[in-house]
């Protein structure tokens, strides 16, 4: 019996590694023929023309898609960082007892809202709101998607940031308070510097979440290929492109393989972001 459980636990443990390698092998295998054949690095990274379905001259420039993802994620972080750090500081340093517990549960609940629901909010609430408030023709744009994505990323960032604050020993706070520091001085001069690594990791994981998010961004961004020049421009994200186009392509076609190449690119980016976050948490970056 013990043996069986041991095997089961072991299989569970290594499955994560097996799956991640499996996924990587799969997307690489599907994308590789394109990467080695039709793929043109200069075109991919510098051309904003993503026209895989053109009859005579299909082009595979991903610059607009990368810019779309980056602009939406960037704005999302502008929204999420102050929100989540503020929430984490309140929950970790000020709230006590029941308030604190209730807030933590609520934040976790917020993280569990399905992304399609967020997309729906972007589509049906934010869209008309933006059109009316800013007097612009289209409300599905960087602003909409970035705001929605910011709200989506904030809960998980809050949770991680709060863990980082909680990991700061209370003796530090006591020492500073005994020297006459006010609560805010303790937070700004002692707690935040001490929790710096964890806070950076929280932001990085939020960025990773932003890069990977698909449905809400697809619904709220306008999904049109554009190099954005203002937050009122519609854009298209890498993820949304894959989601919207993959079902329409012939398996094995250049288009199909090009989408997998986008997948490899996304995979590498999120992998690097998460790895960096992990290393930061472990303090390897510490001098």
């Amino acid at each position: 019996m013990d043996k069986a459980v041991q095997v089961l636990v072991f299989v569970g443990g290594v499955s994560a590694i097996v799956f991640i390698i499996g996924i990587f092998v799969f997307i690489t295998k599907e994308g590789l023929p394109f990467l080695l054949g039709r793929f043109d690095v200069a075109e991919f990274f510098t051309s904003p023309r993503w026209r895989p379905t053109s009859e005579h001259n299909p082009t595979y420039g991903a610059l607009a898609l990368i810019a779309g993802t980056a602009s939406v994620t960037g704005l999302a972080m502008l929204v999420a960082v102050p929100f989540s750090l503020g929430a984490a500081i309140y929950i970790g340093e000020f709230a006590t007892g029941k308030t604190r517990e209730a807030l933590k549960v609520l934040v976790e609940l917020l993280a569990a809202i399905p992304s399609v629901v967020w997309g729906f909010i972007g589509l049906s609430i934010m869209n008309p709101l933006i059109i009316k408030t800013f007097n612009v023709p289209v409300g599905l744009n960087v602003l909409n998607a970035g705001f929605i994505l910011g709200l989506m990323a904030a809960p998980i960032m809050t949770t991680i940031a709060e863990d980082a604050l909680k990991a700061v020993p209370d003796t530090y706070r006591e020492a500073a308070e005994a020297m006459g520091a006010t609560r805010w001085q303790v937070i700004f001069r002692v707690v935040i510097p001490a929790a710096k690594n964890g806070l950076v990791a929280a932001v990085l994981l939020g960025v990773g979440r932003g890069f990977g998010e698909t449905m809400a961004v697809l619904m709220a961004s306008g999904h049109s290929i554009n190099l954005p020049t203002s937050i009122f421009d519609s854009v298209r994200a890498l993820t949304a492109t894959i989601a919207a186009e993959l079902g329409e392509t012939a398996v094995g076609s250049d288009h199909y393989r090009a989408l997998f190449t986008l997948g490899i690119f996304l995979f590498l980016i999120t992998f690097i972001i998460n790895l960096t976050a992990d290393l930061v948490v472990r303090g390897i970056r510490k001098k």
Partner: protein, 261 residues
């Protein structure tokens, strides 16, 4: 006139000090008069309220939300529990050294200057002024020669003895009147204990020092006055040499002879 003179000679004066943690009463009618510039030690068995008393003198007790304090504590004649009192000011005047050395996760230099920066508020401290203050404080705690070449290094890297001296040094730049020490040597080895005790002895006169200790020998050799507490009450308060030779109370005698505690 008499009372003013008396106030000037007293660093800490408490009257009917009662303190509760929730429903548990930890201090009963504590009336103490602690003389200026002397080292006074507080002894007594665990849980007798000596640390509680110490922690109420700079109001750090109040970090726990469920503490209730009645009565008065006057530091240099000023009641520190009046509502209009500025906590930062109280804690500047009454520094605290904890049981375990607790340097902040900053460099040695920034640890020493931390309290001073707080006291200066918005005003910037120039590098020259900073270096002067840091050197003076570290010299006072006999640490300057050991650390002068690594002021920028994290304070956590120091030995426990050095950390504890640093924790004393960081109180000095704001010119406190009283230093509270809560078993400052209990985390140190015998050599460290000796060094820190010597330092405390050096600081007497300039500062009023109130030191809580479990170590009878330490109270005997490193203090001038001694307070014995039991179950939240002050039993005896006399010059140190008297309490150890001719204690007035049976409980004191029993504790000193090690019959309980």
């Amino acid at each position: 006139m008499d009372s003013e003179l008396q106030a000037a000679a007293l660093a800490i004066e408490t009257e009917k000090l009662n303190l509760w943690y929730g429903t548990f009463q930890a201090l009963y009618d504590v009336d103490l008069q602690i003389k200026r510039g002397r080292i006074t030690s507080m002894i007594g068995p665990s849980g007798c309220g000596k640390t509680t008393f110490l922690r109420s003198v700079n109001r750090i007790n109040e970090r726990l939300g469920y503490v209730r304090t009645m009565g008065s504590i006057r530091v240099l004649g000023h009641d520190i529990y009046r509502p209009e009192v500025d906590l930062g000011q109280v804690r500047k005047q009454v520094g605290m050294v904890f049981q375990r050395p607790n340097p902040l996760p900053l460099s040695i230099r920034e640890n020493v200057i931390f309290g001073y920066r707080l006291a200066m508020g918005q005003q910037k401290v120039s590098p020259a002024e900073r270096d002067e203050i840091v050197e003076k404080a570290l010299r006072q705690v006999l640490l300057w020669d050991t650390v002068k070449d690594r002021l920028g290094r994290p304070a956590i890297g120091l030995s426990l003895e050095e950390q504890q001296k640093l924790c004393i040094a960081r109180l000095l730049p704001v010119k406190p009147a009283v230093l509270l020490m809560d078993e400052p040597c209990s985390a140190l080895d015998p050599k460290g204990t000796e060094a820190v005790e010597e330092l405390i002895w050096e600081l007497r006169g300039e500062y009023t020092i109130l030191i809580v200790t479990h170590n009878m020998a330490q109270a005997r050799r490193a203090s001038e006055e001694c307070i014995f507490m039991l179950l939240g009450k002050v039993i005896e308060h006399t010059p140190t040499e008297e309490i150890f030779v001719t204690p007035e109370n049976q409980e004191t005698a029993d504790y000193i002879e090690g019959r309980y505690g």
